[in-house]
């Protein structure tokens, strides 16, 4: 079966609703099928990648460390919309570092997160076969 290009679009903040956790679980399950997977974080979705999330005092599961497993599943294309970060007073430094090991480059550790403009993201969306929204 030819591999398809899948884009998972994340637009919800992490803890107020179940969307973010459900999306991450679907991504990890889908990654096992060796498809070409990209993730986009737009609007309040950018909050999912904030560093130093600590949910101990609100009694809910902190799934944010799970994003770090994406690199091990060959999910290395994580696109964050610049305009969404800027509107929220955030920059890439506010996000957790996410990396993968590039097998085509002697397993060098590389950055998975790419901050892109709206125009660049529109182009990425255009290139996909399947788009799943959360």
């Amino acid at each position: 079966m030819a591999s398809k290009r899948f884009l998972y679009v994340n637009r919800k903040a992490p803890h107020g609703t179940i969307y973010a956790l459900e999306s991450l679980e679907v991504v990890l399950i889908g990654a096992a099928f060796e498809q070409d997977v990209s993730l986009a974080f737009i609007d309040d979705g950018v909050y999912q990648l904030m560093r130093n999330q600590d949910t101990a005092a609100i009694g809910s599961k902190n799934f944010s460390p799970t994003f770090r497993a994406l690199g091990d599943y060959d999910v290395s294309k994580i696109y964050v919309e610049h305009e969404s970060l800027e509107m929220r007073g955030l920059s890439k430094d506010d996000l957790m570092p996410l990396t993968y090991e590039d097998e085509d480059d002697d397993w060098a550790e590389k950055d998975s997160i790419h901050v892109v403009s709206s125009a660049e993201l529109a182009e990425i969306i255009e290139q996909q076969d399947v788009i799943l929204d959360f």
Partner: protein, 102 residues
């Protein structure tokens, strides 16, 4: 008499904060909880309206919700007070009425 307004929605996802600020009287206080706490961030699109609101109302934010979302208190707009769960309960006793802008 005075009302404690509670906002639990992100200012970038819903209009709850806008409507709350439009309708809150000058003697009212605002408490941000859950996704409402995203309004505390400085240098953001909602910062200016928050600064204006701070001229009219005491504004509180629930610290455990801030921490859960990885917001650094150093990046909060100046003048917003953090409260813990005990502080939340105390606030609810200090105001006559509560309004939750769901």
């Amino acid at each position: 008499m005075s009302v404690l307004h509670i906002v639990n929605k992100s200012p970038y996802d819903r209009n709850s904060l806008d409507t709350c600020l439009r309708l809150a009287r000058a003697d009212a206080a605002i408490l941000l909880i859950e996704d409402g706490i995203y309004a505390v961030q400085k240098n953001a699109a909602a910062s200016e309206k928050m600064r204006q609101a701070l001229g009219r109302h005491p504004i509180y934010a629930l610290q455990p919700d801030l921490r859960a979302r990885g917001i650094d208190p150093d990046n909060m707009i100046e003048g917003i007070s953090l409260v813990d769960y005990d502080g939340f309960v105390k606030l609810t006793t200090e105001y006559d009425k509560l309004q939750s802008w769901l």
